[in-house]
């Protein structure tokens, strides 16, 4: 019988690799698989987030809006308080490219102003004989960049003698577009400051309630119940009424964001509390406790990061209510006051039906409000889905 064992000194009848033996060689992942299966949690979240196209678009839009508030002065065609006395309640002008079939580049027509002596209505008609060209990156109204650096650069200005009111002017002849751009700065940040305050309150109070449980939890629960059981607008009003009239506009601005935050933290605190109640039974908390970690460290270092993404997502969804709250308060005359310019303050001028009929462009600040709130909602939805990438 033939044996498979070769005689002494003869080569083996089959191939034997010289490489070291690795029993897991078949299960090994190639690079592509590795990138997929061993991706970090952050990466998984990003992938999941990217699937929600609307959320990505909203995120980019909001990022652009926030970047724009850094350069409000530069983006606005006119200074915030520049009054064009001759152009009160002027309707929006449009930008043209061609004049009588000839390409001229971007320009606006001049306007002819007439006072209708019968109705006392101001009428502005475009005057197609006068052409004012637009130029970019040019010098215009002087301003102080961020209130400090004097400058006069603008993104777009019009030739001398012409006016550029893309969204019309208000009762004092101030350019609406510029005012909306300046208002963005206040309206967009008031939500951020408010959410920051309510984040701190929510995490610390909800964290204490969830971590300690027992009577601390009971008291916190009662307080939250109390705050939630009073309708928000009257309570905002009542607190806003405490703000002294003599305060400077900036102080009022901070006070209003605090007011908004004071009523908003309850939802967040509830979320933190219920998460902590379940998480504090985990082994790693016991381990941390045994190693002598203080409650503050355990909550902030070990517990909160575990559901931070959820918190951020839910915070994104509450920013819109703050922005709307500011508009409602300012609309009632108890929020921000001129000279501070926010979307709510601008809408305050669109209070009565006359405005809607006669000067409809004064309600245009509602467009950014709606866009921003929609964007925050979509972004929040996307973030919420992405916060739990394993689901």
């Amino acid at each position: 019988m033939k044996t498979s064992i070769p005689k002494n000194g003869e080569p083996m009848g089959h191939f034997v690799s010289d490489a070291a033996f690795d029993p897991h060689s078949i299960e090994q992942l190639n690079d592509e698989q590795k990138a997929y299966y061993l991706a970090s949690q952050k990466k998984l979240m990003w992938w999941k987030f990217k699937l929600h196209k609307l959320a990505v678009v909203s995120g980019i839009f909001l990022a652009l809006v926030y970047i724009s508030i850094l350069f409000s002065e530069f983006l606005a065609p006119y200074d915030l308080n520049h009054r064009h006395v001759k152009n009160i309640y002027q309707p929006p002008q449009s930008v043209h490219l061609f004049h009588e079939g000839q390409f001229v580049g971007p320009f606006v027509y001049g306007t002819k102003y007439e006072l209708n002596l019968e109705t006392l209505a101001r009428t502005y008609a475009p005057d197609s004989k006068k052409i004012y060209k637009l130029s970019f990156f040019c010098s215009g109204d002087k301003y102080k960049f961020w209130g400090v650096i004097p400058a006069d650069n603008h993104l777009v200005c019009v030739e001398k003698g012409g006016t550029l009111f893309l969204l019309g002017t208000d009762r004092l002849g101030r350019d609406m577009l510029s005012r909306i751009i300046y208002g963005t700065r206040i309206s967009m940040t008031i939500g951020l400051i408010g959410i920051a305050i309510s984040f701190i309150l929510g995490i610390s109070i909800g964290g204490m309630a969830g971590y300690y449980g027992g009577w601390v939890d009971n008291i916190v629960q009662r307080i939250i119940e109390v705050i939630q059981s009073i309708p928000s607008i009257p309570l905002w009003l009542a607190i806003a009424a405490i703000i002294p009239v003599s305060w400077s506009p900036i102080l009022v601005y901070f006070a209003i964001s605090v007011v908004l935050a004071l009523l908003d933290w309850t939802g967040l605190a509830r979320a933190v509390r219920s998460k902590l109640l379940s998480l504090r039974e985990e082994d790693y908390v016991l381990a941390a406790e045994l190693m002598g970690a203080k409650p503050r460290r355990i909550i902030l270092r070990h517990l909160v990061p575990g559901f931070m993404s959820h918190l951020i997502a839910s915070a994104t969804l509450t920013i819109p209510s703050m922005i709307l709250g500011e508009t409602a308060l300012s609309f009632l005359g108890l929020g921000l006051r001129p000279p501070v310019t926010s979307w709510g303050v601008l809408l305050n001028e669109a209070q009565n039906i006359n405005v809607v009929v006669l000067y409809p462009w004064l309600i245009l600040p509602v467009v950014p409000v709606v866009l921003v709130i929609l964007a925050f909602n979509f972004l929040g939805d996307g973030l919420r889905d992405a916060a739990d990438p394993y689901a």
Partner: protein
């Protein structure tokens, strides 16, 4: 069950106590009181006020007393159904609010029914046709309603109602019907005037409700018992309504708590814009002019209603869902 009921009732007492403290503090916090505002106003108008009247009012309502005693007498009055005296209207608060409460409740109930009628079909459609164009479109419209400031929507609709249908602007009825006994013409006028407030106040609530119903229903529809039911040949409609829909309505019942106070207060800002004769504008003006009994008692009433509402919804939930009944608490 009885134990649970008793526990819930007992827990409401400290909550109400805390609420009364908070409201009293909020009302007291702004510097000055109504009389100072009033005096300043009258002096600005060049009129003189009999100081005796002010003295008398201050004494009757205990403004010369220290704060804790005033708080105690306010609460004591509340417990006896005496809401205090409105200085601005020179009437007991009960009378001031009473005349408006019915109109407010009418507006609010119709609004709530409108919200339900719109939100339910849309929410169910969105959940069953997930990610379809219909779902996207309807959700988007709902969100748009949520994102538009109410007062502006009110203004714009008011304008178009006037242009297209010739409905007079604002108020709850035509001027000639105010203080008139109920008649068919008055009824028609009220109904005409109700359309806009109902739509405006309803939009925001509708959007929120669609989203929540959709999310809850989607969660339920993914569960295995639905698949089982379908596999066993239960007709699609029944497979939707019998269990998943019922399960997803828990949130709806727990919403009762927040609905009750809004029935009474109405949407304040919208009511101001449309100059509706509801209680909302009353409350706001009371807060502004520091008419403290009117504002405080009214806020307290709203808070009590919320607590009652939460209580009702908790009891209803306990009846419907044995898991809650047996655990003795609401699940979040």
């Amino acid at each position: 069950m009885v134990n649970y009921l008793l526990y819930r009732l007992a827990a409401a007492v400290p909550t109400l106590f805390l609420i009364s403290l908070l409201i009293f503090a909020v009302i007291e916090l702004p510097p000055g009181d109504y009389f100072e505002t009033f005096l300043a106003e009258q002096e600005a108008l060049g009129e003189t006020v009999d100081p005796k009247k002010i003295e008398y009012l201050k004494e009757t309502y205990g403004f010369d007393q220290p704060m804790p005693i005033r708080y105690a007498s306010w609460v004591w009055g509340l417990l006896h159904g005496d809401l205090g005296y409105s200085f601005e209207y020179e009437l007991p608060v009960n009378d001031v609010i009473g005349s408006r409460v019915w109109m407010t409740m009418l507006v609010s109930f119709i609004t709530i029914i409108f919200t339900w009628l719109i939100a339910f079909p849309i929410g169910i459609y969105s959940a069953t046709h997930k990610y379809s164009w219909g779902d996207y479109g309807l959700t988007f419209i709902g969100l748009l309603g949520l994102a538009t400031p109410n007062f502006l929507l009110a203004l714009i609709l008011m304008y178009f109602a006037n242009v297209w249908f010739g409905t007079s602007i604002g108020h709850l009825m035509d001027a000639e019907f105010i203080d008139q006994p109920m008649s068919w013409a008055k009824f028609v006028s009220v109904v005409e005037h109700l359309v806009i407030p109902v739509i405006v106040i309803g939009t925001a609530g509708t959007a929120a409700m669609i989203r929540r119903l959709r999310a809850n229903l989607l969660d339920e529809l993914q569960k295995q018992y639905v698949t089982t039911a379908k596999a066993k040949g239960v007709p699609p409609f029944k497979a939707l309504v019998k269990y998943p829909l019922r399960m997803s309505l828990n949130f709806f019942i727990s919403d009762i708590g927040s609905i009750l106070p809004s029935v009474i207060s109405g949407a304040e800002v919208v009511a101001i814009v449309l100059s509706l004769e509801t209680t909302g504008p009353l409350l706001i003006s009371a807060l502004k002019s520091q008419d403290m009994y009117l504002a405080g008692s009214f806020l307290m009433m709203l808070a009590v209603l919320t607590v009652i509402g939460v209580l009702i919804s908790d009891i209803a939930l306990a009846f419907l869902d044995p898991r809650i009944r047996l655990k003795g608490g609401r699940q979040k």
